[in-house]
Assembly symmetry: C2
Homo-oligomer: 342 residues x 2
DNA sequence: ACTTGGAGTCCGGGGGACCAA
DNA sequence: CTTGGTCCCCCGGACTCCAAG
């Protein structure tokens, strides 16, 4: 029954099947499929025709097996982090022109970083791009001993050998947020902290430094929290019991800020009239018109591009010591900040 | 230099390397690595020790190549859809106990479904789980001719052969939303429509049917929109120019509803006091305390579990014709709905 | 008679050597 | 000598068969 995609019961067609149908050798079929030279136009067409008929599709794994290179960049990301999914979008865009593919491995409830990385390694990725990794530095160093590793959005001591770092200047971002609030007239500015999350230490430090520089040392106040909406909400609840309220809050990130906004809303605390709120990341979340969060913007496409570039450079033989790209953030003023109402 | 993880410059260790170091054959190493029988405890330990020392890690691809089975389920999902990322989390959880792995392929800006699926096929996935696929039915049918395909959250005519379907009863969900609103006293209920998005037709139909059954035929009003926040915002802007406003809005999904909420907020239209809003999905988004959206809840863990089950059943030789699981949704009442203020 | 371990083959495809016009 | 095409071995690991202990 010609024309029927002859799928012999679950077995997918191979080079040999195409070769048999086209009446040529498998090597020739290989040449045609790779678009390499060494086949006449007529034969080429005949082979492609045969391949179409039986629904042939090259097996990426077998191909990689032979060709040492996999041209695969393994990406670990947090499924529920808008900042990460935005980055992944940028990584896809950056990897393609460089001739690399992306293999995704999610960190989610019940699937830790360890598992995510293992699956990437087993899949023979040539390099790892880790988004906001929380693993101990020692573990990352160990990985970097095996293959090029790029840490995105987490600062690491340069002493971690072989580890490439691409990150935003978190301290500078925190400074911008504080400067903005101070310029608006705020003095009583609280930082809702990310705890041990990547970047949290720098943002905390930047907040401290900026407050000090503005002569607001005695107003420094840091509430321990974390990187989720719930963390932000918890901190905000603690805060809303205070009298008087602080006039401004700088949250660890957008998710956290979202939780803060919510609690304030319910507590009848108006934003920005009663309290101003600043987030961090400028992820999709912040841009939701409904939230419209003033936030410290990370240049996501740029971070993604640099991460890919660093990975590729290492893969293509760059022997220079591992380096670091630090991107300057840019404050995005939206509607959650305003002068204090005194 | 014993103890040093001898990584011979970029080349990862293979079975042979371990064998050489342990002084045994590769076959024996294979046995040990697979935890198969055929090796003494002493040898086993010796081999494992050697493997650890040189940092050996089995090559998943080579393994699959030989074993015909890849035990890999390919998942296509939308990076920016909270509903999808929630589902992916469920898929990971469901696949593991069944002994399968998940390969992720994202649909994003600049990366369409075609591309996403191609990469999954090239990776030798044994079955495809497509989240809210927008591809033409004919294309899906073609895929289903090659391997088991499960469509999640999109209804397809049973005439599409070989295609498994797992979905929520969208029409029933829309009905629940309308019933809820009518019970609160609403009559002027607008539907902001998902256009050609998966599920949109059924939700639209469910809305129509329910409105008719409540004798509200002349209040039926459907605004064309789509599945993003921006689509919802556009529709809401059109709506807020109306006098009098409708008293309730049923949005296509949570993202769309979020856009609606935003525009209303800015236009000074209070939710739920002036207008009630209902979403669909009960994704992470709806649960954000800040949004706290009344929504038609899809049972995400269940959908994920069923999708995996159907894929696995087909792979393990179930020859029964392709089927469909239709899950009943359950309305989750939060704070965006209330009686109309007359 | 078992147990333990080795040699050889296969999976799907890549690519260099080599042969035929 | 090119161009077109074939042969053969290799990649990394798994499994069957066999032989040695």
């Amino acid at each position: 029954m010609p024309g029927t995609p002859a799928v012999p019961a679950g077995k997918r067609p191979t080079l040999a099947d195409v070769a048999a149908r086209a009446g040529v050798s498998t090597a020739l079929v290989s040449i045609v499929m790779r678009d390499a030279k060494g086949a006449s136009a007529a034969t080429r067409e005949r082979v492609l025709q045969a391949a179409r008929e039986i629904g042939y599709r090259p097996d990426a794994r077998a191909r990689l097996l032979r060709s040492q290179r996999s041209r695969l960049l393994g990406v670990q990301f947090g499924l529920q982090h808008p900042f990460h999914t935005d980055l992944v979008e940028g990584l896809y865009a950056a990897a393609e022109p460089a001739g690399y593919q992306i293999a995704l491995s999610a960190v989610a409830a019940g699937r830790g970083e360890q598992r995510a990385v293992e699956s990437l390694l087993a899949d023979r990725c040539e390099a790892l791009i880790l988004l906001g990794p929380q693993a101990p530095a020692a573990r990352l160093a160990e990985l970097a001993g095996q293959l090029p590793v790029v840490s995105v959005a987490r600062r690491l001591r340069p002493s971690v050998p072989g580890l490439e770092v691409v990150r935003t200047a978190d301290d500078e971002g925190a400074r911008q947020a504080v400067d903005h609030l101070v310029a608006l007239g705020h003095r009583d500015i609280v930082h809702i902290d990310g705890g041990r999350a990547p970047g949290a230490a720098d943002r905390r430090r930047g907040y401290r430094t900026a407050m000090n520089r503005h002569g607001l040392a005695e107003h420094i106040r840091i509430l321990p929290a974390g990187l989720t909406e719930e963390d932000g909400a918890d901190a905000a609840r603690a805060l809303s019991a205070d009298r008087p309220h602080p006039t401004a809050v700088m949250a660890f990130n957008d998710r956290c800020a979202t939780g803060v906004l919510d609690v304030f809303l319910r507590a009848g605390i108006a934003v920005p009239d009663d309290i101003s709120v600043v987030g961090f990341d400028d992820s999709h979340l912040a841009r939701l018109a409904h939230i419209d969060l003033t936030t410290v913007g990370q240049d996501i496409p740029r971070l993604a591009h640099l991460a890919v570039s660093r990975a590729v450079a290492r893969l293509e033989g760059d022997k220079s010591p591992a380096g670091e790209d630090v991107i300057t953030p840019r404050l995005v003023v939206r509607s959650t900040t305003a002068p204090p109402s005194l």
